[in-house]
Symmetry: C2
Subunit: 152 residues, 2 copies
Amino acid sequence: MESIDPVTARAWLATAVEEARAGLAEGGVPVGAALYGADGTLLGRGRNRRVQDGDPSAHAETAAFRAAGRQRSYHGTTMVTTLSPCWYCSGLVRQFGISRVVIGEAATFHGGHDWLAGHGVEIVLLDDPECAAMMREFTARRPQLWDEDIGR
Amino acid sequence: MESIDPVTARAWLATAVEEARAGLAEGGVPVGAALYGADGTLLGRGRNRRVQDGDPSAHAETAAFRAAGRQRSYHGTTMVTTLSPCWYCSGLVRQFGISRVVIGEAATFHGGHDWLAGHGVEIVLLDDPECAAMMREFTARRPQLWDEDIGR
């Protein structure tokens, strides 16, 4: 697999950020994600829906994965997420063989991306200040909701 | 947490087996699961719904977790599943701090339960011949569907 160019990575992250912002506007957990195919097609996008749907299984990455529907293979696909994936979402990436994860930020929450890198997943960490500011503001304002969302 | 007695473990497994059988009857992947509370209350139950709903994110364990709705804590809860949990479902258990996993069988598929044990989750492996026979028959009859379900 070719490495992703920075312009594409930022453009794909913008899709995930749109999802996160929409979630924030709905009173939800502001994490967004999108799954892109090997050819750069957007396969699915989604956001955390714990509050909106009362669904604790709908993390941003699993929502994007779900929206993409059934796929025969995830080889060459990229999961883009505004935040370092938790163990649940990291497990999804590993099990289904998603090839790459583009991460907005890992400063406010450090999930399983090192583990994924150790299992051959390409990790692109963008250190995006907007993603970090959005989470920092949210976790300060709704600490209990955030703790609930990550099982803490 | 007290250890689970074998009669309770078998009774709880029966709930997961009912789900798996229902999935098989629907033409789906025959894996079932249930989430039990610390006091033994059934919080949620579910089955793999890849075929039924066209939803690749609905593994048995995530379906049971979803059915249980929002919970403040998973401390003391038990996830019962007919089959060793894949990385996706193992990640769910670790992230949310589910305390125990009761597994029907791990002979036809060996998921992440050793990893969970290493992270403090109590694992009860029942080596149930009915669970193993159901998966063995299914994977022989629908190998492509099974491969798709585990991203192989």
